[in-house]
Each structure stands twice: as C-alpha cells, then as structure tokens.
Symmetry: C2
Subunit: 194 residues, 2 copies
C-alpha cells in the first residue's frame, strides 16, 4: 500500500482524521498506472475522475480552432489534476489531460466522492479546503498574467515551481505562460548572456 502513503500525508496536512476514517477515505481511491503520452481525459467525454498524482507528470491543455495547444495545468507528485469544469459539473470535457511521463495516479470517481462527502462532514471539509485553495491558486495566476510581462511570468514560474519548470517540455511551459516556444527560447537565451 506504499502508493497510498503520500495521499494519506496530503490529507493529514489538511484535516484531522482517525485511522479508521483515513482508511475509509483512501480505500475509495483506485490505483491507475498510465504510460507516457496516454490520455486520461479527452474533449467531449465527461471527466469521471479526480486524479491524485503519486508519481509522474501530467499536462492539461486545450486545442483552439487553429490547432494551437494551450497548457492549462501541470501536475506532478502530490498534485491533483482533471478537467475541473467537466468534473464538478459532470459535463463533457474541453481539455486533454495527458501523461508527460509514465505515471501512477490515485483516482476517485464523482459518485464515490459524493458518497464520501455525505458519509462524513470531515470529508466534505477536505474537498471544501481543496476547492478554496484551487480557486486562490487560479486567481493568483490570473493576477500574474494580467500584471506581468512574458519574462516576468517565466521568472515567477521558475521561482515558484522549479521542479516543474525543468521537467516539462519547453513548448508546454511556453503555452502555460501564454507565449510561444520561440519567445521562451529567446528569454532563456537572454538570461544566459547576462
């Protein structure tokens, strides 16, 4: 059950649970192993799961009419990922969620999560805290995007998430930061010269 250890710690950092409650909670998560380049969410299909990353790296992105990809989220160890809108409203997804590396996930499906929340208010609290922090995180990203230049956005990202910056393809990071891969290349190059 080594795969569950990090999720257990994740929970303990957020709410207080007895051993029994903890077991009840995590036993509803199923281990899912996926290979690099494999999709766990695709447009037009409902995102059935909330995914906790035990190991590996994933990327959520949308593709616009011109075929350009825009990275919406990354996830590495101890992060959650899904098509957020699709999951909470249980409506067709607009995103792809793909493994950038072989990965091990812990998945819970929407109905099971609903049952858990009904069974114990502490579980409801956990998902409330998670949603609040997600909202706060998204809002910080909105603020950064509105107030910073391309180079500043890159600097902030590498400072905040050094482990992600050096682990994902440059084109994926560039589109997450709202710039082209060519321009990100130029930014990196300018830094080397200084």
């Amino acid at each position: 059950m080594a795969q569950y250890e990090s999720l257990i710690k994740h929970l303990q950092d957020r709410i207080e649970l007895s051993e029994e409650e903890m077991n009840q909670f995590v036993s509803n998560f199923k281990i899912k192993k996926i290979k690099k380049r494999q999709f766990i969410v695709q447009p037009d299909f409902v995102a059935k799961h909330r995914n906790y990353v035990v190991e590996g790296a994933l990327r959520a992105y949308v593709v616009n009419d011109e075929g350009q990809e825009h990275t919406i989220a990354f996830a590495i160890e101890d992060w959650w990922i899904s098509d957020y809108n699709s999951y909470i409203y249980q409506q067709p997804a607009t995103m792809f969620v793909m493994a950038l590396e072989d990965a091990v996930l812990l998945q819970i499906d929407f109905e099971t999560e609903a049952k858990l929340k009904k069974a114990n208010p502490k579980f409801e609290t956990f998902f409330r805290i998670t949603a609040e922090r997600t909202a706060a995180f998204f809002q910080r990203r909105i603020i950064t995007n509105l107030t910073s230049s391309a180079e500043e956005r890159y600097d902030k990202f590498t400072n905040q998430f050094p482990l992600i910056a050096n682990r994902v393809p440059q084109y994926a990071l560039a589109s997450y930061l709202g710039m082209t891969t060519e321009f990100l290349s130029k930014i990196k190059n300018n830094k080397l010269k200084k």
Copy 2:
C-alpha cells in the same frame, strides 16, 4: 428583512435547508451600506469579510509598481466579492475592493463563517460548492485569456455578462480584459463601423 431575500434564494438554489436552518445561516450576515468610491478591502489589511451584493456594483483591483490598475473582479447583485486569497488564508490583502456605485452588502466574517461550517455540514457543503464554482469560473477566465485575442475577450465578456459590461467604467473593463482603455475604445469603434 427585504435585504435577506436574495441571499435566501441564492442558498435555496444551492442546498436544501429547513426554514430554521435558513434563519440560522442568514442571521449571521450583517447589512453593510457603502457609498460610491468607498473601499471595503485595502492592501496590507486582512480581508475580514465575505461580501454578498444585495444591490450595487463593486470592483476588485490591484495596483502594480508603475501605478497601473488591473481589475481582478467585478460584482453586482447576487455575486460575492472579497480579496479571495486574503480572506481564505486570513493574510494581508493585495487588492482594493471599491464600490462603483452606492451598494448594499451582506457581510459575514471569517470566524463566524467557521462556526457556521462546524455547526451544520450543510453549511460546509454550501461553501464547498461556492468554492468549486469559483475555481471553475477562474479557470474558464484563464482559458479565455490564453486562447483569445483582445477583441474576442471583449465579445465573450459582453455576451456572458451584458449587465456588467454596460454598467462599469470602460477603463475598469479594459483592465479586467487585459488591454488598455484606448484599445478597448478602438474595438468598440470598429464594431460601430461594421
């Protein structure tokens, strides 16, 4: 108690409460009347309240080092507003929240909200749903900002929020959409010509 009617409806649309539970919930909100240009949140002070708008319009914005204002959120009737990060983490705010018109709010403070959530799991559920929808809303904005041109962002906003678009100052809307007021003016003008 006319002021509480819209909040009651807001709650009924999201969770099922008995009359008694409803009264318990809303009685913790205090009526706050503010004048145009008045601030309810300022940088360096902790945002103590979650604010529900009964009447009026408000704007949350940040000011960067160069003195430029960037609108982060609007709120009109039946919307919530605060400095989200400041409120949920109870840390100093980075935003201003100001009334664009005379307004009537219903305010709950952080500690009272915590008590409510402890008192009844249904209340916890309400805040969980609210946070989830907030996160989903923010993510849709991130996606729009990454994938659309200035004109497309303006079109989407006016389609989705026609009541807001025509009610707030142009400079506030422009900075919400991530462009200058001059450029928004030009976009509007181009539409008139067509």
